[in-house]
């Protein structure tokens, strides 16, 4: 099994994802340059966090038209597992692989902190190792994480269990106080209709080693590894 981590100009968490896969979970990993036109040999593609193209247009907008994204779209359509973290989530919405958009945080500022996140659907390839409604600590670090979609879309997401993660209290209550950025329905992560594409604002790679203060993100990688095994 091999993970491919896409490197866009301005990707920052590419090394972190590589480190997590390679050294924490001991799986094979490689970098994919954004101008590459083949994903051959990869079983899971990760779009890492960062500021692709400086986020100078809309977050993720320019990266979504990088050459490699044609391949990523094709890979996803064939059922390949695609994980977009933070800027990667933003790129997935811009590329049309996930619905909705990520707007500026309601407080208008960048927020970096550990937050409790509730696993709403533990039957996806990215969340199967979590318990249903388990609350885990995964840090966020973004200025544009305020998830928005029209009412029909959110209704569909909610009705079909496509909300994978929601911001909640430590006890698992989905409240406005527990919502760090104003995201609709406290959405922290959603999956595609086929369930094989996950976009999430929290950074599971930052919560995979105990010395970093939390291992709440391990479940995401362990679930993928289990799904691919």
């Amino acid at each position: 099994m091999k993970f491919g981590i896409v490197v866009f100009p301005g990707s920052n968490c590419d090394h972190d994802c590589y480190h997590a896969i390679k050294h924490v979970f001991k799986k094979d990993a490689g970098y994919i340059w954004h101008k590459d036109t083949s994903l051959k040999g990869y079983d899971c593609v990760i779009l890492p966090g960062g500021f692709s193209y400086g986020d100078y247009l809309r977050t993720g907008a320019i990266a979504s038209s990088s050459p490699v994204m044609n391949e990523v779209v094709g890979f996803a359509k064939k059922g390949g597992l695609v994980l977009g973290i933070c800027n990667g989530f933003q790129i997935l919405t811009e590329a049309g692989l996930l619905p909705g958009a990520l707007m500026r945080n309601r407080g208008l500022k960048f927020i970096c902190k550990h937050v409790p996140v509730r696993v709403d659907n533990n039957s996806t390839p990215f969340t199967a190792k979590y318990g249903k409604n388990e609350v885990v600590d995964i840090p966020i670090a973004h200025a544009d994480g305020n998830y928005f979609a029209d009412a029909e879309t959110t209704k569909r997401l909610e009705g079909s269990g496509r909300i994978a993660f929601r911001y909640s209290t430590a006890a698992g209550a989905v409240t406005d106080e527990a919502n760090p950025n104003g995201a609709l329905l406290n959405i922290a992560g959603i999956v595609s209709e086929g369930g094989n594409v996950l976009g999430m604002m929290p950074h599971p790679e930052r919560a995979s080693e105990p010395e970093l203060g939390s291992v709440g993100g391990r479940g995401v990688f362990e679930s993928i590894i289990s799904a691919l095994s």
Binding site: P9, G10, N12, C13, H15, D16, H19, A20, H23, G49, G50, F51, Y53, G54, D55, Y56, K109, F110, I111, C112, K113, P139, A141, A143, H203, E205, R206, S208, E209, E211, L212, G213
Partner: protein
């Protein structure tokens, strides 16, 4: 163009300095040459007022691979690895345009680090703003913080720590000091040397524009009314361009193409080319027409003096030009050959095939003026140091006093600020902002480094020598309290106008203090920065010699944080509380006074306390350790109780031992560290302290939901935390930039 007295003055040069230029050259300089002299001889680039005094610093030690004089200092951390670090100021630009001023400050220090061949792994900052009541303060705080966040977050280097203070002396001149550390292989150090006659000079990165022309001269002058009108001298940052430049340079460093490299910081193309030639004792010929530009019609003068950001100058091995360009092209960056290394030691600027300027490099560097400026202790200093405690009444309610100090902006939580910084990217940050020092692990080893920035400028104002020594001692103590052994420091000396003898007295005294502490504690200075002329309308900032220090933790699991870990642990104090309240936060907040003698610093007692704490940490018996600083014992206890994972109270059996109650609670006696250990380890801690010669008193136990200190303080920890945690956010919400 004829050089007139007005032209000379506009370039920030004195008539005497101009005569010196004419004498050296044996002719009048043309305008381009005058411009080059003016920036190279500016205080910012030449250190002409401070240079003779800086020679006193110890700069060598077993870990030092590169001392002062390069873009950054470098220390050996073992395992074939090295850490490059440095701190720089961006004070003047940040006051004029806080977002871009602070952002480009971050960009500049990052380039200083990666130009040495290191990947930046952590940044810190030390910020000083005017009094909270000043109408510009909130605007500057918001802008500076957003600028640091905007640049640092985008480029993906975690901002892991810092300090923020408010004082009226910064009303007209905020301070923005930024520090970055980078990791490298110790046998892959790159330096700013233009060696090898005939080697090509390559310009890489963003194009040159008309921004920032004369920034170094601006940073070497005092502000008057209307300083904001200098906005065109502030550069605009592009962190995305810098991220590309960083990745391209690091890719280039894996090859053997590079002979020397330097970033274009203050004084841009001028200082980078001149300094590289000076270090290698060579000359450079630059073809100014080949410099990539943002707009047509730029003169050689503008190209040489522009401070456009995200640019690098390098000398590469002849014949590798195309390979080098290929790497930059991969990252969508330009890299152009703009000149050649030549014999003869001159910097020669060619424009349209003709010599536009030709100056011996030596005149610009070695022959730059060095001033022995007059020094005079201020007449008011004695009066300032008097404090009659008999006239200072004791508080009636110590709970309220503690809450008042905890909610003063100098002591209050800085989470409003650091939550805007990505302090976790790179997945190495083991101790996040909020504890004594940041701890950043080194992947592939068991090691970590700890980093801190410190200075109490109020102490420096009252006694710059003590204040300078205390800044070093406190930085070391913060590292030790995190379980790290201090190995080297960088300094950023922010002072007023050196043409005032009283400011020179502050500067030289502070340098003495820093030197004394460095020698006593065995910590060398491996680089730094001097920022003078921090003065507006005749008011100087408090002398602020900020210390940035790095320490090593050999085994990550021995690191410590300041927070109580559980109930039933023993609270102990390493060090002794002495009488005196001069210069304390308590005196300022509660009594509105900034006077008296600041706390004494006994460097042998300091060494003993640090040795004891570090030894205990390495034996893994320390559960928490916290340096006592502003607000003294009571504040340190409260801060230790504010564990982010859930507050933990303490019951302290307080005995003032002949001190006034406010001294016992709030004195800022140096060389004290508050620790907690398990009951079973108390005897061992006592033995360690005895061995090191550090006094130790067991003062209480952790547990419960209240902080109780003798008969004076008894208050729920959550009430204290509420006052402390929200103060800065409440202040900024109430004073939001209008």
């Amino acid at each position: 163009m004829k050089i007139t007295d007005v032209t000379i003055k506009e370039h920030g040069l004195t008539i005497d300095e101009y005569r010196r230029i004419v004498d050296s050259l044996g002719r009048e300089p043309n305008l381009l040459e005058l411009g080059i002299f003016s920036v190279m001889w500016s205080e910012h680039c030449s250190y002409k007022s401070s240079r003779r005094h800086l020679r006193n610093f110890p700069t060598t030690g077993p870990h030092v691979l590169q001392g002062p004089g390069e873009n950054a200092g470098i220390v050996d951390i073992g395992d074939g690895l090295a850490v490059a670090f440095k701190m720089e100021s961006h004070n003047h630009p940040s006051f004029i345009e806080p977002y871009q001023g602070a952002a480009t400050g971050v960009g500049g220090i990052l380039r200083d680090i990666f130009t040495m061949g290191a990947r930046p792994i952590a940044s810190l900052n030390s910020l000083r703003f005017g009094s909270p009541e000043n109408k510009k303060t909130a605007f500057l705080v918001e802008g500076v913080v957003a600028g640091i966040a905007g640049y640092g977050n985008c480029i993906g280097v975690p901002t892991v720590g810092g300090e923020v203070y408010f004082n009226p002396s910064y009303n007209g001149n905020c301070l923005v000091n930024v520090m970055t550390a980078g990791l490298m292989k110790k046998d892959r150090i790159f330096r700013g040397n233009a060696s090898g006659i005939g080697n090509p000079v390559i310009y890489a990165g963003s194009r040159t524009g008309r921004d920032g022309i004369h920034g170094a001269v601006m940073a070497s002058d005092v502000f008057g009314e209307g300083g904001e009108e200098r906005r065109p001298t502030v550069q605009v940052g592009d962190p995305f361009a810098e991220k590309l430049l960083l990745e391209a340079c690091l890719e280039l460093f894996k090859t053997d193409f590079v002979v020397g490299i330097q970033d274009m910081g203050a004084a841009g193309l001028t200082s980078s080319s001149v300094e590289m030639a000076a270090r290698a004792h060579t000359g450079l010929e630059l073809h100014i027409d080949l410099v990539p530009r943002r707009e047509d019609g730029m003169t050689a003068y503008e190209c040489m003096l522009s401070e456009s950001q995200e640019r690098m100058l390098m000398v590469v091995r002849k014949g590798t030009e195309e390979e080098v360009r290929k790497i930059f092209r991969k990252w969508d960056l330009e890299a152009e050959v703009v000149g050649t290394v030549i014999e003869g030691g001159n910097i020669r600027i060619m424009e349209r095939g003709e010599v536009a300027g030709d100056i011996p490099v030596k005149f610009l560097t070695d022959d730059a003026p060095v001033y022995d400026r007059p020094i005079k202790r201020p007449l008011a200093q004695d009066e300032l140091n008097t404090l009659d405690l008999k006239k200072i009444g004791l508080p009636h309610n110590y709970n309220e006093t503690l809450i008042a100090i905890l909610s003063s902006l100098n002591v209050a939580s800085k989470e409003w600020i650091y939550s805007q910084y990505d302090y976790m990217v790179r997945t190495d940050t083991v101790v996040c902002p909020g504890s004594d020092a940041a701890v950043v692990k080194i992947k592939g080893t068991n090691k970590a480094i700890a980093l801190t920035v410190d200075c109490n400028s109020r102490y420096c104002y009252l006694d710059p020598r003590k204040g300078g020594a205390i800044a070093v001692a406190e930085a070391a103590r913060n590292l030790v309290a995190s379980g790290a052994r201090p190995i080297a420091l960088t300094d950023c000396l922010n002072f007023g106008n050196p043409e005032r003898p009283e400011v020179m007295w502050q500067l030289t005294e502070a340098i003495h203090g820093i030197k004394d502490a460095c020698i006593a504690l065995g910590i060398p200075v491996i680089g730094g920065n001097v920022s003078l002329y921090n003065e507006t309308s005749g008011v100087s900032v408090y002398p602020t010699p900020t210390i940035g220090m790095v320490g090593i933790i050999d085994d990550l699991k021995t690191h410590t944080t300041q927070w109580f870990k559980g109930a039933g642990d023993v609270v102990a104090l390493i060090g002794e509380t002495k009488p005196g309240l001069g210069g304390t936060e308590y005196l300022s907040v509660v009594h509105g006074l900034e006077r008296g003698d600041p706390p004494d610093i006994d460097l042998s007692a300091e060494k003993a306390a640090e040795e004891a704490c570090l030894k205990a940490a390495m034996e893994c018996i320390i559960l928490s350790a916290h340096d006592l600083s502003e607000g003294g014992l009571a504040v340190a206890l409260a801060e230790s109780a504010f564990n982010p994972r859930g507050s933990i109270g303490a019951d302290i059996d307080y005995d003032a031992k002949g001190l006034r109650a406010d001294e016992g609670l709030f004195a800022e006696t140096q060389s004290r560290i508050l620790v907690t250990v398990r009951e079973k380890d108390v005897a061992r801690l006592k033995a360690i302290c005895k061995d090191s010669g550090a006094p130790l008193s067991v003062i209480g136990k952790t547990g419960g939901e209240r902080l109780k200190i003798g008969s004076f303080i008894d208050v729920p920890v959550n009430e204290l935390k509420e006052a402390w945690a929200g103060a800065l956010g409440r202040y900024l919400a109430a004073h939001a930039a209008r």
